[in-house]
């Protein structure tokens, strides 16, 4: 029993060492350069849209820069943070999805509730007060 355990332990360590080697994400110059190129485009376009006012409607501009920001965040996650479904057996991605859900609830919930609170509030104008 003891022997079996020891040999198993040895095998386990080897497996661990192998797993540890692949722990460091393999980084390539190409990956970084692609990510950087995409980021530059995805940063320059929203600044251009707002500074030049090409799109007549402000809503359209706001919508466009939101989409571009989301795309850029994904680009950074993939090319700079090296996030994929395989790293840490998927736990990285799980934690990210959980965080994203909480983030969306906190943001939309706050904006939604506070907007309605503001709209439904009794009009309070200081000039009406004695």
């Amino acid at each position: 029993m003891n022997d079996a355990h020891a040999s198993h332990g040895g095998a386990h360590d080897v497996a661990h060492a192998a797993a540890h080697d692949s722990h460091e994400p393999h980084i390539t110059l190409d990956g970084y350069l692609i990510g950087f190129g995409l980021s530059v485009i995805l940063t320059a376009v929203p600044f251009y849209l707002v500074m030049s006012g090409v799109l007549e409607s402000k809503t359209a501009t706001a919508f466009a820069i939101t989409i571009l920001a989301v795309v850029q965040i994904v680009v950074h996650m993939v090319y700079f943070l090296h996030l994929d479904a395989k790293s840490e057996a998927g736990w990285n991605l799980m934690a990210l999805i959980f965080t994203a859900v909480i983030l969306i609830i906190a943001l939309t919930g706050s904006l939604w509730i506070m907007y309605h609170l503001k709209v439904n509030m009794m009009p309070m104008n200081m000039s009406h007060l004695p």
């Binding site: 079996a4 355990h5 198993h8 332990g9 386990h12 360590d13 661990h16 060492a17 540890h20 722990h23 460091e24 994400p25 393999h26 980084i27 390539t28 110059l29 970084y32 350069l33 990510g35 950087f36 980021s39 530059v40 940063t43 929203p46 600044f47 707002v50 500074m51 402000k58 501009t61 706001a62 820069i65 939101t66 571009l68 920001a69 850029q72 965040i73 950074h76 996650m77 700079f80 943070l81 840490e88 736990w91 990285n92 934690a95 990210l96 959980f98 965080t99 909480i102 983030l103 906190a106 943001l107 919930g109 706050s110 904006l111 506070m114």
Partner: protein
């Protein structure tokens, strides 16, 4: 080696009419669950990266709440200055460039680490720290200009939430800079040992994460502010 396989047999067998045949059929259909119950040693720092990722996610929640506060209060100027009166998009564009450049140069530092070059790693870390320092300098200059014009955090709810959000990001970048200098010294003293590689990877995650937060800041605070 203790496993749960035996216990599992009975657990699965009970609801299945209690026949061993049923269990065998089930087990051949699906693989037997295998649990390791006893403690076994892990190499140092085995779980650091996942742990650090979870820290970053908690930091992400912190920023999401600050963004939510800015989203709610961002339009309450209290008859004070509005984003259009305060923000200069040229400065913001310059700042964004600094942070983006620091991201790619940190990538070069990681590539140098991968090829085990101590000198090049340190040089790229220094370049990254330089861009980070430029970012902080430009941001402080912007804050100074705003405060001199009377747009202090006390002026309106918009300015309170603005300074809290952007200031928290700036503090994170400053912390990252302190960490970067520490690592440059450590890499110089001990070389690219296992522990230092791990620390460089953690700082890489931290630094790139700050860039991700900045995407949110320049889009929703500065660019949207100019659209209001």
């Amino acid at each position: 080696m203790t496993t749960l396989a035996e216990t599992n047999d009975t657990l699965v067998a009970t609801p299945l009419a209690g026949t061993r045949g049923g269990v065998a059929a089930l087990q051949s259909a699906a693989q037997t669950p295998f649990y390791v119950l006893d403690e076994h040693p892990h190499p140092a720092g085995y779980s650091t990266q996942l742990g650090f990722w979870i820290y970053i996610m908690s930091d992400c929640l912190l920023f999401s709440v600050l963004f939510a506060a800015y989203g709610v209060l961002g339009g309450s100027y209290a008859a004070g200055p509005a984003p259009k009166d305060l923000f200069d998009l040229n400065i913001v564009a310059l700042n964004t460039t600094m942070l983006l450049l620091s991201s790619i140069t940190y990538g070069f530092a990681m590539l140098s680490m991968q090829s085990n070059s101590v000198g090049r790693t340190q040089i790229w870390l220094a370049v990254t720290a330089f861009f980070g320092l430029c970012f902080i300098g430009i941001e402080l200059h912007e804050f100074y200009g705003m405060i001199r014009e009377g747009a202090t955090p006390q002026r309106s709810a918009f300015l309170s939430s603005f300074f809290t959000l952007v200031g928290t990001h700036g503090l994170h970048v400053t912390t990252g800079l302190v960490w970067m200098v520490t690592l440059m010294v450590q890499v110089g003293q001990r070389g690219l040992i296992e522990a230092n590689r791990r620390r460089l990877l953690c700082l890489s995650m931290f630094w790139h994460f700050l860039d991700v937060v900045w995407i949110g800041v320049f889009t929703f605070v500065y660019l949207m502010g100019m659209l209001r």
